[in-house]
């Protein structure tokens, strides 16, 4: 569709950084908030993070324990499936590699589970090798609840709905289980550079 088609009278507004953007994305300076429902607010003393499923000894950290783990500073571009992108966002958090250190598993997939019953699914290999973090700080400040605080998954190489807000743990599985948006029409993998927004893209 669209072979030779152009929109009569449309010039568009290019920006110099557009070359850094995946297809169909545009730059924003702010940080839009997108959620399917109300923002959950779990007190830190009730918060924990766990790794369950295909793992001999499930792991669990309280908030205090989690904050003792070695953390990293991360600067990455992020791309939302609703078309906005934001360049050079600064985060701090714990690498998934750190959380999985010493874990042997037959799992090939992960379901991230969250407060508010949100889930998202990813191949395990997309979370390891320095590609994903559990982030608790944004731009030098504690992560705001609207943006997923106290902690969210950060997987910047995939569309940002995969970077699940209010994350509470990872379930390791040998099979792939589509998550919340993935069962509601959004792409199972979500690579912005291949514009995998919706089913069949």
């Amino acid at each position: 569709m669209g072979q030779g088609f152009f929109s009569r009278g449309f010039r568009g507004r290019r920006r110099s950084q557009d070359t850094a953007l995946p297809p169909g994305q545009y730059l924003v300076d702010g940080f839009p908030v997108l959620s399917a429902g109300p923002t959950p607010r779990t007190p830190l003393e009730e918060w924990d993070f766990s790794i369950v499923g295909e793992i001999d000894e499930p792991k669990r950290w309280t908030w205090e324990e989690f904050r003792q783990l070695p953390s990293e500073e991360i600067t990455k571009d992020i791309h939302c499936v609703t078309k906005w992108s934001k360049l050079g966002t600064r985060w701090e958090g714990v690498s998934i590699d750190t959380l999985l250190k010493g874990v042997e598993t037959a799992a090939e997939y992960v379901t991230a589970f969250c407060d508010g019953d949100y889930t998202t699914n990813l191949p395990l290999e997309d979370l390891t090798g320095g590609k994903a973090w559990i982030a608790y700080s944004y731009d030098g400040e504690s992560l705001e609840p609207e943006h997923g605080g106290p902690a969210r998954l950060l997987v910047p190489h995939l569309y940002f709905w995969k970077s699940a807000k209010w994350v509470r743990g990872l379930q390791l599985t040998t099979y792939d289980v589509p998550g919340f948006w993935e069962t509601l029409g959004y792409h199972n993998y979500g690579d912005p550079w291949r514009e995998q927004r919706y089913w069949g893209d």
């Binding site: 545009y26 908030v33 429902g37 109300p38 509601l184 029409g185």
Partner: protein, 248 residues
């Protein structure tokens, strides 16, 4: 599952009519070839292409009911936007517009889903809620429905006359306006932004287990959703939709 996984194709819609709704808002009535229908609350992606091949995309909620003859997008002109000024000021009947959809399977309502419904919208955030109200009317549904709608001024209330007409002949549909910037003389309604106090007065009781839909282009969405939860509403019954403030 396989049938659902088919690709959402780009289609070349024809603009049949451009209807001014308010000084800043236009409804685009579209004829979409091979449109497969939608649920109230869903959106489409619109793609504009310049002559030199430059493209950009945005998402717009569908304002028409599934039963309506034309697909309707109701677009607010954003002064610093890239796409909305083109849609509101340049596009005219006879032009073509590339889009794909319908998209989104969560912020949707069908008459069979029941209610009661509590709809909260601001500005052009009325679009997907209007699709629900129009669908409810077209389906002859008597689900009790209350709309709380925030506009800047009386002149900027989108779909004002249609909402009045629908509510006047349907005792199960209530429309409550609030005006945030200016009010006409003699205005007896709310004249402030939606806040917790207003929601306490207007929202259906949590005891009725209402289904709430909240849509607005700004952060008001989080405030309303949080306030409803504090009033005792079940989070899973509060659905939010939002388009980026720079959605242009």
């Amino acid at each position: 599952m396989a049938a659902q996984l088919r690709r959402t194709l780009w289609r070349l819609a024809e603009v049949i009519e451009v209807v001014p709704e308010t000084p800043r808002t236009r409804s685009l009535l579209l004829e979409v070839p091979e449109w497969e229908g939608h649920k109230a609350g869903q959106h489409v992606d619109v793609r504009l292409t310049a002559e030199d091949g430059y493209q950009t995309q945005r998402s717009y909620s569908i304002a028409s009911a599934p039963e309506d003859e034309r697909l309707v997008l109701t677009v607010d002109h954003l002064d610093d936007g890239e796409v909305s000024p083109y849609l509101t000021d340049v596009l005219m009947a006879g032009d073509k517009l590339e889009l794909r959809g319908p998209i989104g399977g969560y912020f949707t309502w069908e008459a069979a889903d029941g209610g009661p419904l509590f709809l909260v919208g601001g500005g052009s955030g009325i679009a997907p809620l209007m699709a629900m109200i129009r669908h409810r009317a077209a389906a002859d549904s008597d689900v009790p429905t209350r709309l709380l709608y925030s506009s800047r001024s009386y002149e900027e209330i989108i779909f004002r006359e249609e909402l009045e007409t629908l509510a006047s002949r349907d005792s199960a549909l209530e429309v409550i306006h609030t005006l945030t910037r200016s009010t006409p003389e003699g205005w007896a309604g709310y004249d402030r932004r939606i806040d917790a106090e207003m929601l306490r007065e207007v929202a259906r009781s949590p005891d009725e287990s209402p289904l709430a839909f909240v849509c607005d282009p700004t952060s008001f969405v989080e405030g309303v959703a949080d306030a409803l939860v504090r009033l005792g509403h079940v989070p899973a019954r509060v659905k939010t939709e939002r388009f980026g403030p720079t959605g242009g």
